[in-house]
């Protein structure tokens, strides 16, 4: 059963030098409040696992500006031009993955799979150095599972147990990241009673959720 904490209480659980998965795609489905609170702390040396890094000084862009990030692993950082500058100056370590491979490796990390083979990215820079295997006459690359110390996510509603539902394309990376971290913190619009959400529509079962942080719709 999940604990219900305020954003201020929840941010105290995070420590420097940890790896953190952050849900969201293009500022939709991001845990905005928690990201802002992390930006207000002295937390540093973070490994951020997220599809993108927001835009300059917005969302995860604040953590870029503050130089709180040791490495970012994701699929498309282009919208953050500040991250690009730091990267080309050798001041920010970025690992870029094909988006589907990134998603699948998070899923693998969350479900005890030791790694998988994909044809995506074969022959490209982003799979350089990866182990390869020929399967049915075609070349595949090996991808390792991705895991993290924390997942910080955003959902539409949680019930008091911690079951989650999302809204439209704000679902994106949140459900898979919930499974792949040692400790999962979820910002939600609203908390409801168990039994209120239909058992058929719950997307993230509460076994994956450690802390719920109510922040209000749109915040």
């Amino acid at each position: 059963m999940a604990k219900i904490l305020s954003p201020e209480e929840a941010v105290k659980l995070i420590s420097s030098d940890s790896s953190i998965m952050i849900g969201g795609f293009g500022n939709i489905g991001n845990p905005k409040k928690m990201i802002d609170l992390i930006a207000d702390t002295e937390l540093k040396n973070l490994t951020i696992i997220a599809n993108d890094l927001g835009t300059p000084n917005v969302g995860l862009g604040r953590l870029v500006r503050n130089r709180q990030i040791k490495q970012a692993i994701g699929s498309y950082f282009t919208y953050n031009t500040e991250a690009a500058e730091l990267y080309f100056e050798g001041k920010l370590n970025l690992k870029m993955m094909p988006q589907g491979t990134f998603a699948e490796s998070i899923r693998a990390g969350g479900c005890g799979i030791g790694g998988f083979y994909t044809r995506v990215g074969v022959g490209s820079d982003v799979t350089e150095g990866a182990e390869t295997k020929e399967i049915n006459g075609r070349k595949y690359v090996f991808v390792e599972p991705l895991k993290a110390d924390f997942a910080i996510l955003r959902a539409r509603k949680a019930d008091r147990l911690g079951n989650l539902v999302y809204e439209r394309t704000a679902r994106n990376f949140n459900p898979i990241m919930a499974t792949a971290a040692k400790f999962t913190i979820v910002e939600v619009d609203e908390i409801v009673e168990p039994g209120t959400l239909s058992p058929e529509e719950i997307v993230t079962p509460f076994i994956y959720v450690d802390v719920i942080v109510p922040v209000g719709r749109g915040e």
Binding site: G26, M97, Q99, T101, A103, E104, S124
Partner: protein, 225 residues
């Protein structure tokens, strides 16, 4: 062969792509010309549009501020709308769909295309493009990879080349290549010219294409203004 404006080029490519997209097909459209193609679809043609950030059944952009739907964007971060029967899923499930072999077509841009169908479309060295997004997944998973691109770069450099010289998105992945002057198919690693616009000759195309290709026996000319 007169000089085309940027708008003319884009419109011509978008119209040709619209013609090639299969009726009832499941398609994923990249930013730019691909999205524009939807505007030129014949009214009889129905497409089911997937966006890799987690939706099948994408509707048109909202017409007014009031039509904007909360938490609903496409992979280009533009607001979109719902269609009846649309549905949502997470990113792993979305790319599972993309790699499933069930998607009919994806339309994407190119920096270079090689004569074997290699595609380079994600990074120009030093240009600040940081990450491939979903492009590498789309070109491997989808049945018909349609590349929509200007035939020659604005600086005069050829884009249809023997070998790509900028970072690769995928090797031997392009199925169809549409420019403002030509349509090529890639079949068994061979590049074949199947159509050209009525305002260019076969020699004109040869002159702007470094890639080696063959001309289909039944190559067609399409009427352009």
């Amino acid at each position: 062969m007169r000089q085309l404006t940027d708008t003319e080029i884009r419109t011509r490519i978008a119209k040709k792509v619209a013609e090639l997209l299969p009726d009832g097909g499941f398609v994923n459209l990249g930013v730019g010309i691909p999205t524009q193609a939807v505007n030129y679809l014949s009214p009889a043609k129905k497409l089911y549009i997937q966006t890799e950030n987690g939706m099948l059944g994408v509707g048109p952009a909202p017409k007014t501020e009031a039509d904007i739907v909360p938490n609903l964007i496409n992979a280009s971060r533009q607001p979109i709308t719902e269609t009846p029967g649309c549905c949502y899923f997470d990113s792993a499930t979305s790319f599972a769909m993309i790699r499933s072999g069930r998607m009919d077509a994806t339309v994407i841009g190119a920096i270079q295309v090689s004569e074997r169908g290699d595609l380079a479309n994600w990074a120009l060295p030093g240009k600040g493009v940081l990450g491939p997004g979903g492009a590498m997944d789309l070109v491997v998973g989808v049945k018909d990879v349609i590349v929509a691109t200007q035939h020659v770069a604005n600086n005069g450099k050829h884009k249809l080349v023997e070998n790509c010289t900028v970072p690769i998105t995928g090797l031997e992945v392009v199925n169809t290549l549409v420019t403002e002057f030509a349509v090529f198919k890639f079949i068994n690693k061979e590049m074949i010219l199947v159509e050209h616009s009525s305002d260019v000759t076969l020699d004109d195309i040869k002159a702007m294409t470094s890639a080696k290709y063959t001309v289909a026996n039944d190559v067609k000319a399409w009427e352009v203004d």
